[in-house]
Amino acid sequence: MHELSIAISMIDQILEEAERRGGLQVEVVHLRLGVSSGVYKDALLFAYEVSCEGTPLAGSRLEIETVPLRIHCPTCGQSRPAVSLYALHCATCGTASHEVVSGREIEVASLEVAA
């Protein structure tokens, strides 16, 4: 259940960012979450809601965009989607590769703030 500590550090980061930009009121947080980040979406949503209470982010919404797994395929010579998290093979040609290009992100992409 490390989603709680991740939610707390995320909230600290967002509040800092909002403060730095002159005290923005954040309504929606857009997060990019890789399928191979080791973070469970539902647990993070729950942890976010609970941890926001009593902070200026109370009542804000967390929207999570899932980032699929991409690997560098040595045969195709470029980044390709992996078959799945359970089969790190190029979805195009089937070559196995452990070089993960994306899918491990835990990244605050943008904030929707009161205009």
């Binding site: 259940m1 490390h2 500590s5 991740i6 550090s9 995320m10 980061q13 967002i14 960012e17 930009r21 923005l24 309504e27 929606v28 997060l31 191979s36 980040s37 080791g38 973070v39 998290l85 359970y86 089969a87 790190l88 093979h89 196995a96 590769s97 452990h98 993960v100 491990r104 992100e105 835990i106 990244e107 605050v108 992409a109 943008s110 904030l111 929707e112 703030v113 009161a114 205009a115």
Partner: protein, 230 residues
């Protein structure tokens, strides 16, 4: 109410990643080879590490940090092999992070060490998100746990460099399907080197020791990465 969008692109793990990077640089400049161990609880991390430390302490200056939610039991066990052991008790936290490692290292002369082990809290989920600055991450899987663990917890296998199959002396009794285990590991982490060991009987330990000696000899990280793949 109308809203506007502000691009941020901020990595949530940035603080841990920066600390881990600083640790990695410190380890490299001190010339210490840092190896972390991850696995589920009870898969034999401490027994494996105890055996390794006993053997390696004859040739190298070895040290270990060992993470658990509570108790000093593991550190006491490992101190039979080397005095340089520190327990990290995390309280309710289910993983180690770079800050905990940095704090635990306080006062240690890293340049005087050859190999440092970091035994993570027994957990196949949370540790995968935290870089500790280690040069090599070993994931352990015991024969009694079943061969499908890599498919159930792909992220921790995927983020590791080497797999160690432990308790192989019990494989037959547990009807452990070794070929399926190897296939599953290969599927979630293609090309990963796999060792089969028994800390109890000593089976396969010599191969691991050889690997670690060679790893220690390859000081630079790029040479290390090449060595892991070979």
């Amino acid at each position: 109410m109308s809203t506007r969008i502000i691009e941020v692109r901020a990595k949530v793990m940035k603080q841990n990643d920066l600390l881990a990077r600083a640790l990695r640089e410190r380890f490299e400049s001190a010339g210490v080879c840092v190896i972390s161990l991850v696995s589920s609880p009870g898969s034999g991390k401490t027994a494996f590490l105890e055996k390794l430390l006993h053997r390696l302490a004859r040739e190298f200056h070895v040290a270990a940090l060992v993470g658990d939610l509570a108790t000093e039991n593991d550190a006491e066990r490992l101190r039979r092999a080397t005095p340089h052991v520190r327990q990290i008790t995390t309280g309710t936290v289910c993983h180690l992070d770079a800050q905990m490692v940095e704090t635990a290292l306080e006062g240690w002369d890293l340049a005087a060490l050859d190999i440092l082990f970091i035994e993570n809290v027994g957990n196949l989920v949370c540790p995968s998100s935290y870089d500790l600055g280690e040069g090599l991450r070993c994931v352990l899987l015991s024969a009694t746990e079943g061969e499908d663990k890599p498919l159930k917890y792909p992220t921790i296998f995927n983020s590791s460099d080497v797999a160690i199959l432990t308790k192989m002396d019990m494989a037959e009794a547990a009807e452990f399907d070794l070929e399926a285990a190897r296939r599953n590991i290969e599927s979630v982490r293609p090309g990963m080197r796999i060792f089969e060991v028994s800390s109890k009987t000593g089976l396969g330990m010599e191969e691991v020791l050889c690997f670690l000696r060679e790893l220690r000899a390859h000081a630079s990280p790029s040479a290390m990465a090449e060595h892991i793949q070979s």
